[in-house]
C-alpha cells in the first residue's frame, strides 16, 4: 500500500514536473537570427508614431514624431583606406552594426482608388519574391512592392500587364502616393522624395534629390567638400561606425558646397566622404519639401513635410481636397535598418474636415495649426508576410475574411501581427515542431491515464 502510494506520488510528480518544464521552455529552439536566410528579428517588435496634419486650402502639412535611441545621419560612404577609395554600403539585412543606413519615415496615401488598401494597408503591396525575403535570389535590380492588379497573376511579380493596361489603371487612380523622408539623402536640404507604388515602387518624374558621388570607372569620388567653406567637422569612418556622426559633422555633401574631387589633396587613412551629393530635386519628384530640415532631439525625430494639396499631377500624386477622405499607411525606419526591417502601420483613415481616425486641422494660410493633440499610430515589425499567403485559403485561415473585405484591424492587433510575421519566417520548422509536440503531449496524457488506472485502488483490493 505504501509502495503504491509512493508510485502514485512519483507519477504525479513526473507529470506535473514535465508540465512546468514545458511551460518554461516552450517556444525555444527555433526562432533565432539567421542572416544567411535574411532573417534578423528586431529587439522591439512594436513602437508608436505620432502624427499631426494641417491644411490651408493650398498646402498640406504632415508632422511625424517617433522615438529613436540615436539618429542615423549617414547612408553609405566613400572611405580612404590603404591608399585607395572604396564604397562602403550599409547592410541590407537588419540593423547595420556600422551605422551606414539612414533613418526614414514614409507614408502611403490613397484616395479610395486602390481596393483593399483601406483595409489591409501595405500588405497588399507585398507580392511574392521581393528583394530581401528568405529564399529570394539576389537580383541586380531591387524587386520592390507592387499593386496586385498590375500583374496578370497578382502572385507572380514577373507577369506585369502591358504598358497600355498599366496606363489605364494609373489613369483610374490605381496607385499609391508614397512620401519618403530620409535623414541623410533628403533632410539636409529640407526635402523628401516623392514616389509612388503601382507596377513597382517608382520615383515621380523629375530630378532626384541626390546623385552618386562614386565614379565606378576611376574608383574615386566625384566631388569633395569645398575647402573654402565651413561644412562641419570632417567625417572619419571610425566616427561613423562608432555612431558618433552628429549634426555638427560634415555628414552630407550638398551640390552647393561641393567641388570636383582632387586626388592630390592630402587624404588621411580613414577619411570619409558621403556616397551621394545632395541637390534640389525638380519636377514632380520634388513636390514634397520641408519648412526646415528636421532635427533629432532628446530621443525623438520630429519631421514636418509639406506639399501643394493639388500638385497638378494626378497621375503621380494623390490630390488632397478640402472635405476629402483618404487612407494612409506609415513606415518608420530606425536603428540603421532598411528594406523590410521597418515598422509599419495598419491603414489609418484620414480626413480633411471629415470624421476619421486622423483629422487634419484647417489653418490660416501658410500657418499650420499644430495646437491639436498628436494622433498615436501603432507601428510594428511586419516580418515576412506576403499578399499571396494572406489571400490563399490553404495557407491563411483568414483568407475568406479578406475575400469578404473584413479589415485586418477587426481580427488582429499590431502586436499580434508582429508575432505572426516572425512565425511566418519559420513557418515550416515551427509547424513540424508543433506536430511533434502535439504527438508527444498526447502520449504523455495517455501514459498518465494508464499509470493512474494501474495505480489507483479500490479499498477492498488493498485490504
Amino acid at each position: 500500500m505504501k509502495k503504491r502510494t509512493t508510485y502514485l506520488a512519483f507519477s504525479a510528480a513526473i507529470f506535473s514536473g514535465l508540465l512546468v518544464a514545458a511551460w518554461v521552455t516552450h517556444g525555444t529552439g527555433i526562432v533565432r537570427d539567421d542572416p544567411e536566410r535574411n532573417i534578423v528579428i528586431p529587439d522591439d517588435l512594436t513602437s508608436t508614431l505620432q502624427v499631426k496634419a494641417a491644411y490651408d486650402g493650398e498646402t498640406i502639412w504632415f508632422r511625424y514624431r517617433w522615438a529613436a535611441e540615436e539618429p542615423n545621419l549617414v547612408n553609405d560612404v566613400l572611405v580612404y583606406e590603404n591608399g585607395a577609395w572604396a564604397l562602403r554600403e550599409g547592410s541590407e539585412v537588419g540593423p547595420d552594426p556600422d551605422r551606414l543606413v539612414e533613418d526614414r519615415v514614409a507614408m502611403m496615401v490613397d484616395d479610395g482608388s486602390v481596393p483593399l488598401f483601406s483595409r489591409y494597408g501595405g500588405y497588399i503591396t507585398i507580392g511574392d519574391g521581393l528583394t530581401s525575403f528568405s529564399g529570394v535570389p539576389e537580383t541586380e535590380e531591387e524587386r520592390s512592392k507592387y499593386l496586385p492588379e498590375t500583374r496578370t497573376d497578382p502572385d507572380d511579380i514577373d507577369t506585369v500587364r502591358p504598358e497600355n493596361e498599366l496606363r489605364r489603371l494609373r489613369e483610374a487612380g490605381y496607385f499609391l502616393d508614397l512620401w519618403d523622408w530620409r535623414s541623410a539623402r533628403t533632410n539636409p536640404l529640407a526635402q523628401a522624395e516623392d514616389t509612388s507604388v503601382g507596377a513597382a515602387r517608382e520615383p515621380d518624374a523629375g530630378a532626384a534629390p541626390f546623385i552618386s558621388n562614386f565614379d565606378e570607372n576611376t574608383g574615386l569620388p566625384r566631388f569633395m567638400f569645398d575647402p573654402a567653406l565651413d561644412t562641419g567637422n570632417p567625417l572619419s569612418i571610425d566616427i561613423v561606425t562608432a555612431g558618433e556622426a552628429g549634426f555638427d559633422n560634415a555628414y552630407f555633401l550638398a551640390e552647393s558646397a561641393a567641388v570636383p574631387f582632387d586626388p592630390a589633396t592630402d587624404w588621411q587613412e580613414g577619411d570619409t566622404l558621403p556616397a551621394r551629393v545632395l541637390r534640389e530635386s525638380a519636377g514632380s519628384r520634388g513636390d514634397i519639401s520641408m519648412p526646415a530640415a528636421a532635427r533629432w532631439r532628446n530621443g525623438f525625430w520630429d519631421v514636418t513635410l509639406q506639399r501643394a494639396m493639388d500638385t497638378g499631377d494626378p497621375l503621380e500624386d494623390k490630390i488632397f481636397r478640402d472635405g476629402g477622405s483618404y487612407d494612409l499607411a506609415f513606415a518608420v525606419f530606425r536603428d540603421s535598418a532598411t528594406m523590410r526591417w521597418h515598422y509599419v502601420s495598419l491603414p489609418v483613415s484620414f480626413g480633411l474636415d471629415q470624421p476619421a481616425q486622423f483629422v487634419a486641422r484647417e489653418s490660416e494660410p501658410g500657418q499650420p495649426d499644430w495646437t491639436g493633440p498628436w494622433t498615436e499610430v501603432p507601428v510594428f515589425y511586419p516580418g515576412q508576410v506576403t499578399w499571396d499567403r494572406l489571400t490563399d485559403p490553404r495557407r491563411h485561415p483568414g483568407a475568406d475574411r479578406i475575400a469578404a473585405r473584413v479589415p485586418a484591424a477587426y481580427q488582429h492587433n499590431e502586436r499580434q501581427l508582429a508575432l505572426y510575421g516572425i512565425e511566418m519566417e519559420f513557418a515550416e520548422e515551427i509547424r513540424r515542431q508543433w506536430l511533434w509536440t502535439l504527438g508527444m503531449s498526447l502520449l504523455l496524457i495517455v501514459a498518465l491515464g494508464t499509470g493512474m488506472v494501474l495505480l489507483f485502488r479500490r479499498t477492498e483490493e488493498t485490504t
Binding site: 521552455t25 485559403p393 509547424r431 496524457i445 495517455v446 489507483f456 479500490r458
Partner: protein, 251 residues
Amino acid sequence: MTVAFLDRYETSKVKDQKMERASSLLPAARTGLAAVALLAFGTGAAFAHGTDGGGVEVALEGAPSFSISPVYHVLVVHFPVALWMTAALLIFFRVFSDSQLAVRLQKSVWPLILLGSLAGFVAYGLGLFIYPWSAITQSPLGRNHIMLATWTLSYWTVMGVLGYRYRRFLFEGAQRWVTFVLTLIGTAVVTITGTLGGSLNGTPSLVTRSLGTLGWEVYMTFYLPTWMLVAFGLGAVAIVALGVMGSRTRA
C-alpha cells in the same frame, strides 16, 4: 439442503445486484442516447448548412476539401464544456465533503465526463473541418487551439475512464487529492481551450492576456524544444512503468 438453499440465495442475490446495476445505468443510457441524437442532429445541420451565410468559403482547385460553418462548432462545443465543468464542480464538492449529498452527486461524475467526451469528439471533429488543415496549422492561434483542444479531450477522456473504473474510490485516501489535482488541471485546460477559441474568432478575453502575463504569448505557437520532447517520451515510459510496478505490488 441448506447448501442448496444458500446457493439459490446467492444466485438470486447476484441477479438482484445485476438488475440494480442495470437499472442504475438506465438513466445514463437514456441521457447518452438523447445526447447522441442531439449531436447527430447538430452535425447533420452543420453539413446541411454548407458554406452559405456566414460559413467559411473555401474553393481549392484540385484539392478535395470541404468546410463546415464555424457556428456549429461554437454551438456544439458548449456541451462538453458544460458537462466537464459540472463534473469538476461535483468532484470538488466531493473532495471537500463527505456529506450524503456529495456522495450521491459523486455517482454522476463519470457519466457526465464521458458524455462530455462524446460531445467533445463531435465538437473537435466539427472544429477540424472549419478551415483546411493546411491553413489552420499555419496559424499560431489555430495551432494552439488545436493543441489545447487535443489535450482537453484526451485528458477528460482519461478522467472519465478513471472515474468509470474507480467510482467512489476516487475519493478514498490519497487518491482523493490526486483526483483533486487532476481535476484542477482539467479545468485549466478547458478554460484555456475556450479562450483560445474566442481569440481565434476575434474576441480575446482577459484570460488570453493573463496567459501572456504568466509566460505564454498565445499569438505564438506552443511548441517544445526537441530535448523536452525526449523528456516527454521518457516521462511517459516512466509513468507507465511505475503503474505496472504498482499493479504488481497488489498481486
